[in-house]
């Protein structure tokens, strides 16, 4: 998954920290996106997902660290010309009509593909004379997406783009998005709560808890590396056969111990069995572990 056209990562986040008063919304947060990959950013509410996206879009000035888009350090707005950002609430001027909203997009952007915007609006079946404030949630999302995609971004940041959409609208938006990704090869970072969406749409995974990344990687690799081990009820000493630092989470019942480990384990003791975890099991384990650490 190397991109021969661009030397640097499409988006690189380097040790950024964002403080609001005494509270750190982000701290020591680092990751980078693979060119052309669709990456899921997963985390509980308040983990800092929206904050890191807003910072990448130039809406926030991080207290620490830096963010680079295609090798250029992000400064305050305007957004990097190759970056598109769709906020979770899809802000649009509610009083204007759809056609005026497209005109506004054209007037706010140096690079604007009007034909593509028209295509997307037509595909969404939007009435150009309808006022934006009267559009349904799905229609509003598709109009907002048309505005972002008409910028022809190379890097697309989507903050929970499918939240609050009914199943049909969700499917339509997913299809629009994936068509665009396939056609242009753009790099996408998408935050989401819905693990089903991730498995379906994304290639890479970032798990964020309490303002920092606790797991990152290609989803297939992440799935291949992790194992769920089930064995008899044992205490910590009973897990001595596991390599040090490999345990992600241990769950104990009266007569059974379930362990998620982050690497293949050698021959198992008698009474233990291994299986492949689902992506959901892995993500939830990392969220719980991060949550416990964050609580300390």
């Amino acid at each position: 998954m190397t991109d021969t056209l661009v030397d640097s990562s499409p988006l690189r986040v380097v040790e950024i920290g964002q403080r609001y008063g005494r509270k750190w919304a982000l701290r020591g947060c680092s990751f980078e996106l693979r060119p052309g990959a669709v990456t899921a950013l997963v985390g509980p509410n308040g983990a800092g997902k929206s904050t890191v996206m807003a910072a990448a879009a130039g809406l926030l000035r991080p207290t620490q660290g830096r963010i680079e888009v295609r090798g250029e350090v992000v400064t305050a707005s305007p957004s990097h010309p190759d970056l598109g950002y769709l906020a979770q609430d899809k802000p649009l001027y509610r009083r204007v009509r759809v056609r005026e909203m497209l005109e506004i997009g054209r007037h706010l952007n140096a690079r604007w593909d009007a034909a593509h915007a028209d295509e997307l609006v037509d595909a969404a079946g939007l009435d150009r004379d309808q006022r934006v404030g009267t559009l349904s949630g799905g229609q509003r999302t598709r109009l907002a997406l048309a505005l972002v995609l008409a910028r022809r971004p190379q890097v697309l940041l989507l903050d929970e783009p499918l939240a609050d959409l009914d199943p049909l609208a969700r499917l339509e938006v997913q299809q629009t998005l994936m068509t665009e990704v396939v056609d242009t090869g753009m790099t996408v970072l998408m935050s989401s709560h819905i693990l089903g969406e991730i498995a379906e749409l994304c290639e890479d995974l970032l798990v964020m808890v309490s303002g920092s990344i606790t797991l990152s990687g290609v989803i297939d690799t992440v799935l291949a590396q992790h194992r769920v081990l089930v064995g008899p009820g044992v205490d910590a000493e009973g897990l001595g056969f596991l390599p040090e630092g490999s345990v992600v989470e241990v769950q104990r019942a009266a007569r059974q111990t379930t362990v998620l480990v982050d690497r293949p384990v050698g021959p198992l003791p008698i009474g233990w069995s291994a299986s492949d975890p689902t992506l959901e099991e892995i993500v939830v384990a990392y969220l719980r572990r991060g949550g416990r650490r964050g609580d300390r």
């Binding site: 669709v38 305050a76 054209r106 604007w112 990704v181 396939v182 090869g185 994304c202």
Partner: protein, 383 residues
Amino acid sequence: MANRHEAAHGTATRSTASRHEVQPVLSGRGPRGMWWVAWRQHRVQVMVALVVMVVVAIGLLVFQLVLVGRLHAAGCTVLTDENQCNARLFPLVASAYDEGTWRILRAVLVATPVVLGVFLGAPLFPREFDQRTEVLALTQSVGRLRWWATKIAVVGVPLVAGLLGLGFLTQWCDGTTWFTARGAMDDGTFQVRSIMPAAFGLLALAIAVTAGIVVRSLVGSLVAGLIAAAGVVVLLAFPLRSHLLPTSRDITPVDAVAASPTAMPDPVGAYDPGSLYLASGLLDANGDPISFNAISALCDPSMPPMPEGNPDQQEMDSYNDKYNKAFDECRRDNGITRNYIDYVPASMLWPMRGVVTGICVLLAALFLAAGAFRLRAAPRHSR
């Protein structure tokens, strides 16, 4: 990995050719297109403000025509001084000048710059914050500073231009009769003529814009903007302006001015009706102003006693003569022999306009800079 995309996209496949960078499509008009966007956003407010100014201008013209008619009807000339106007008819003209509608019109002229400045400035940013459309605007090709400056300019330029027109129209209207042409520095006149409405409007706009950025709610910024703008403009336009320039003091011997030493002095010396009157009274031996109460306290012990019982008119007249003579003597004995009048000379009209306008522009720049800094230093997002 592509399987996930194909599953979502049906039969779509990612071809090598499609991975090449998209060539820029240059049909966009940003970031200069921000002018169009800002005008599209705020044109209704700007039009309403211009309509209000036109209505006020029409009111001004109509009233001036009425006044000219009354001057003619009173047998007075329109452009020469009041000495040519029949003294018997003068009160008729004066009543026209003082009647309620004229006072209301002057109050409207004084209030218009502040009200319109706040009306245009306060909602400029809170509406964006409320609908989060600043997130949309600032994640396109428009920088924060351009976004801020363009929005302010789109409402500010028509406001200042309109108020300049209104100020010079007021000046012209006032100049059409000798009666309204007087007192260019008087309260209620200085503030509404020439460049002054534009200066006050600009200051009110700047205060309201920054109130909107700080308060972030529409109603809150309207209220805060109106209170702050009215407070600052009124302070500067009324009490403070007379302290901004050197004042003149004319001093004359008491006896040369007033028959009675207790009478207020008439305007004397270089003072003319175009000046801004500040204060007048008597000076003590050291040349400092002294109040009549202070003189009374000083001289009371040497005053003749009041006639006892029920004095008739003759006794009272005699007493008053004695009192005045004794008071006069006491005053002279204490060195209180001179009147003074303090004023800003009429020749200082344009310097005063210049200084007050300069302060308005400076304060407006400071308020705007504070707002810009706030936008730059504390950008927010909702989550």
